[in-house]
């Protein structure tokens, strides 16, 4: 069978998406009463005034990350499964049972840049209590990463 790759956005004006990439994960503060992530603010992205390289800070909770804008060597296409029944070439397992109906992939965007934060977060000091709390969390995180061979 054949899955056609379509491009509904039109050849010349494929819309650009962007990726903000953190080395690590963002977790909901356990004290937060909210259970749904939807509509929650993660943090503030700020572009610095430094001239040469495009530098950014990303403030998440009491952490500040410093990063920069990276142009991808190869662009990433954002594909959307249309008339999709699940499990058609999903990730590394392509062996799902294909439904007989026709499935297409639609190119809905292209990613050429990402804002990459790969530095260790800096704690923003506000109150001693919070600082201690954050520090403990961060070291637990660092240790976990060390085990994985990251740092």
């Amino acid at each position: 069978m054949q899955i056609q790759v379509k491009c509904s956005c039109g050849a010349e004006n494929c819309r650009e998406w962007v990726v903000v990439e953190l080395q690590g994960t963002v977790e909901l503060n356990p004290s937060c009463s909210q259970t749904h992530l939807q509509n929650l603010q993660i943090g503030q992205l700020c572009r610095l005034s430094s001239s040469s390289q495009e530098s950014y800070t990303f403030t998440v909770g009491y952490h500040e990350l410093t990063g920069s804008r990276v142009t991808l060597k190869k662009p990433l296409l954002v594909l959307k499964k249309v008339k999709g029944f699940m499990d058609v070439d999903e990730s590394d397992d392509n062996k799902g049972d294909l439904p007989s109906s026709k499935v297409e992939l639609d190119v809905i965007g292209i990613i050429r840049h990402k804002i990459l934060f790969k530095t260790r977060p800096k704690a923003l000091i506000s109150s001693k209590l919070i600082q201690e709390h954050v520090a403990v969390l961060w070291f637990a995180h660092v240790n976990a990463r060390k085990k994985e061979g990251w740092l």
């Binding site: 069978m1 790759v5 963002v26 603010q41």
Partner: protein, 376 residues
């Protein structure tokens, strides 16, 4: 104040001015969105994809491949342990009207629709056309083949061409070689009869004469495609063909050097290989005389060369191994070269005489026999 919060998307991140900031948050529709995938592609493939000339192909039990018009790529999923927040441009996903918790001072809000667990990458792949040859039980149309064979259109066309396949009534077929051979012979006869040059065959003439000989038009022109090549500079509307030297061997013939076993011997002289006639039919029929002649020809034989010259010898109660034991002696591999199985004769009136193994004289009775022919 809250209305000044302009909700935007990727563009507000990409165009963020120095010394300004934007809030990043989860989209109202944030989720795993398994129907959204990222595919990393080379810039040079982009036009093919944006102009919809690309498809994924494969059977449910195969790993799917991505085919451009000319190339085939395997698809590999690469995981990412970072957290890439995917932010679509504004308007692509409907936003809920009242996003909560937003800081009023920011200039905008870029909503994250998904955290991508990784992306797909392409790996260029060689295509094997075995798939086409399999399963001759049913007929395939071009669309069937495209759906089944994990190859790009160009690779598929080349593969079909290599098989000398022809599309008849919408289905691709491989024409029986004997039949193609018959058409080719008729074409050659016609060339002689009509005084056509084999380097400039007019397609219209060739096909119409072959049709009058009773061959289908489709196969008549297929014959030119298989055995000929198109000559540039068409005369009028009719194509001109030249019969291809390399493909002029009729399709029914499978040529192989093995066919000359027992007829010729080869000899390596430096980089060149010389072939000379040495026919088994000219040799004596009794084993003793046969071996005598063979070892006059060569003092040492490799098994693969010798076998065609003795396989017809039949002595009651003696296998060919028995014959070899009786009339030949296996020589030891030397140190410098490591020759394969090799035989050497020690013959005196049909009786086995031990040769001096240390001496490197293949014939222990060189004085009694003429020297081997090869040394002449």
């Amino acid at each position: 104040m809250e209305k000044s919060l302009r909700i935007k998307g990727a563009e507000s991140v990409l165009n963020l001015e120095p010394n300004s900031s934007i809030a990043i948050g989860y989209h109202a529709l944030f989720g795993s969105h398994d129907d959204l995938m990222l595919l990393e592609i080379d810039e040079k493939l982009l036009p093919d994809i944006l102009h919809e000339r690309v498809a994924l192909r494969g059977q449910p039990d195969e790993d799917s491949v991505l085919c451009t018009p000319s190339k085939t790529y395997a698809i590999k999923f690469v995981g990412n342990s970072n957290s890439p927040f995917l932010i679509p441009p504004s308007g692509q996903f409907p936003l809920c009207e009242n996003p909560q918790d937003f800081d009023g001072e920011v200039h905008g809000f870029a909503p994250v629709i998904k955290v991508a667990p990784g992306n797909m990458e392409l790996v260029e792949k060689w295509t094997f056309m075995e798939d086409v040859e399999k399963n001759k039980a049913r007929l395939y149309s071009w669309d069937d083949l495209v759906g089944r064979v994990q190859a790009s259109d160009e690779e598929l066309r080349n593969g079909l061409w290599a098989l000398s396949a022809v599309e008849i009534d919408g289905f691709w077929r491989i024409v029986d070689e004997k039949y193609m051979d018959m058409i080719l012979r008729m074409l050659l006869h016609n060339s002689v009869l009509n005084d056509w040059s084999l380097d400039a065959l007019q397609e219209d003439d060739v096909v119409s004469v072959l049709v009058s000989d009773g061959f289908p038009e489709k196969l008549a022109s297929h014959c030119l495609h298989v055995y000929g090549s198109k000559v540039d500079g068409d005369v009028g509307r009719s194509c001109v063909w030249r019969l291809d030297e390399s493909r002029r061997i009729p399709g029914g013939m499978q040529i192989s050097f093995d066919m000359l076993e027992g007829e010729v011997l080869t000899e390596k002289l430096g980089v060149e290989t010389w072939v000379y006639s040495f026919s088994v039919s000219s040799l004596p029929l009794t084993p003793a005389e046969r071996f005598n002649m063979l070892f006059r020809e060569r003092s040492k034989w490799e098994w693969k060369d010798l076998q065609p010259y003795i396989r017809d010898l039949k002595v009651p109660g003696l296998s060919s191994e028995g014959l070899l034991l009786k009339y030949t002696r296996r020589s030891q591999p030397t140190l410098d070269a490591d020759p394969p199985l090799e035989f050497q004769i020690s013959l005196w009136n049909g009786r086995l005489v031990p040769t001096n193994q240390d001496a490197k004289i293949p014939f222990s009775m060189a004085g009694k026999f003429p020297m081997p022919f090869t040394s002449a």
